[in-house]
């Protein structure tokens, strides 16, 4: 009986699929949306904040976490799994500082997280992690980076990406609207992230959590007031655009 638990849970199907990994990716699709944008001097992470129950304290569960001074990540999927991955990543960031006397590059820590995830798709009795992560930060040479990992353990670099519920919609929006002008200034990059999230988050600024890292500065979580201000700006810009179009039509 005990021998049963030795077998790997993630095994190949006859047509070459790893179903456990694919089911994990389904779990990710159920998670709340997260969006990441790589600007020129800034990297932005935005997440959809799930509405909290009345008695629940708002600040206990944060979906955006710092891994080190210059790297942070947001995730979509199982929160408990994410906690484990984040812990391991934080330890690895410090280990790297100790053995190599240099801070991690964003690529290195992404690779570490991805390798960890892959290990769990090829281990005895373990299931894959049910999270996708967006990892952003600056390397020591000042280059901004954005990486995405998924439960299978693959990782890619992106200019802008979204994960979680309605990720496809957000990504399509980003594909249309991510231009050099759109990320020309820090503020514009932040607004792009908010605009992307507003596509899928119905209730507006209250349900958005935003974090930014600027070059050589630590992670900054934006307060709800700042987000409200930016959302108001965006709404105004939309109205102005609509007005202009009306005027063009009438003349």
């Amino acid at each position: 009986m005990a021998a049963r638990y030795d077998r790997a849970i993630t095994v190949f199907s006859p047509d070459g699929h790893l179903f456990q990994v694919e089911y994990a990716q389904e779990a990710v699709k159920k998670g709340s949306t997260a969006v990441g944008i790589r600007g020129k001097d800034i990297v932005v992470l935005g997440v959809e904040k799930k509405s909290v129950a009345k008695l629940q304290e708002e600040r206990t569960v944060r979906k955006i976490c710092a891994l080190d001074e210059h790297v942070c990540m947001a995730f979509a999927g199982l929160t408990a799994d994410a906690r484990i991955v984040i812990n391991r990543a934080r330890v690895e960031c410090q280990s790297h500082r100790l053995t190599v006397e240099d801070p991690v590059t964003v690529e290195y820590i992404t690779r570490h997280i991805a390798t960890l995830k892959q290990r769990y798709t090829q281990s005895n009795g373990r299931r894959p992690f049910g999270i996708s992560a967006l990892i952003v930060g600056f390397d020591y040479d000042g280059t901004p980076r954005l990486y995405q990992t998924d439960p299978s353990g693959t990782y890619h670099a992106w200019k802008a990406n979204a994960i979680g519920r309605s990720a496809k919609t957000v990504r399509e929006f980003l594909e249309k609207n991510y231009t050099d002008e759109a990320i020309a200034t820090d503020n514009e990059a932040i607004k792009l992230a908010i605009k992307a999230l507003l596509e899928v988050v119905q209730s507006g600024g209250k349900n958005i959590d935003l974090a930014v890292i600027r070059r050589n500065q630590p992670l900054k979580l934006l307060e709800s007031k700042e987000i409200e201000t930016l959302v108001a700006e965006i709404e105004k810009e939309k109205e102005d655009e609509a007005e202009k179009k009306k005027q063009k039509k009438s003349t």
Binding site: T99, V100, E101, D102, T105, Y108, R111
Partner: protein
């Protein structure tokens, strides 16, 4: 550093049978144009000169050098292992390993064997993105960053020469090479356990290159002629 290598006793540890390369002079110093590494080439077992042509500089990779003092086997083995680790790092991270990281890898490797009789006193020299790098690493677990190190029984004599020669701030490459050469020569002149040839290396931004190999007796005649 001299005492760490030449002292025979480490308390109640195992008897130091490895006497092979304790007698030696190796030195390395940083200057404006990189790092100069100069070593002698004599190996002694007690009063017997076992060899006059030992290679005490280990070429870890095209931009990192390690020197050998203490047990020859220990030094060459661990530095070859370090070379392997450095190469793996380079392949994984698509960039050269820094001198700090390389020396840390070596220090951590030998620290696991602390107290088990390893005898190694090495200087890890190289050039990385932060400029010239020089670290002293030994089997006791020391790892020190510095601008100048001399290791071995002849180190005191070498220090005397280099300390006085480094007074002027900006040395040219030739001046620095000459200084390193002279320092080793002076050490071999006074220290019975150092001699043979002076092997001189220069580490610069593109890597290291072997500058010269000069027999100590030839150098003696040359310097005597200059004095006259």
């Amino acid at each position: 550093m001299n005492s760490i290598l030449t002292a025979c006793s480490d308390g109640d540890g195992p008897e130091r049978k490895i006497q092979f390369l304790h007698g030696t002079t190796t030195l390395a110093f940083k200057f404006q144009h990189g790092v100069i590494v100069a070593v002698d080439s004599r190996a002694t077992a007690g009063a017997y000169i076992a060899s006059q042509t030992v290679k005490k500089v280990i070429e870890i990779n095209p931009y990192l050098l390690g020197t050998m003092a203490g047990g020859a086997a220990d030094c060459s083995f661990w530095e070859r292992l370090l070379a392997r680790q450095c190469r793996v790092y380079e392949l994984r991270n698509k960039e050269r390993i820094s001198v700090a990281a390389a020396s840390k890898l070596l220090a951590n490797m030998v620290y696991q064997y602390k107290g088990m009789g390893l005898s190694m006193g090495t200087m890890v020299c190289g050039w990385d993105k932060t400029g010239p790098g020089l670290y002293y690493v030994d089997s006791e677990g020391n790892r020190v960053c510095g601008d100048l190190f001399a290791v071995g029984s002849g180190s005191m004599y070498a220090y005397g020469i280099v300390d006085s020669g480094l007074k002027q701030k900006d040395l040219t490459v030739e001046e620095a090479c000459d200084l390193g050469c002279r320092a080793i020569y002076q050490a071999t002149y006074r220290d019975a356990y150092s001699g043979g040839q002076v092997n001189l290396y220069h580490v610069h931004s593109e890597g290291w290159n072997r500058v010269s190999q000069s027999d100590v007796l030839m150098l003696h005649q040359q310097y005597q002629a200059e004095k006259a």
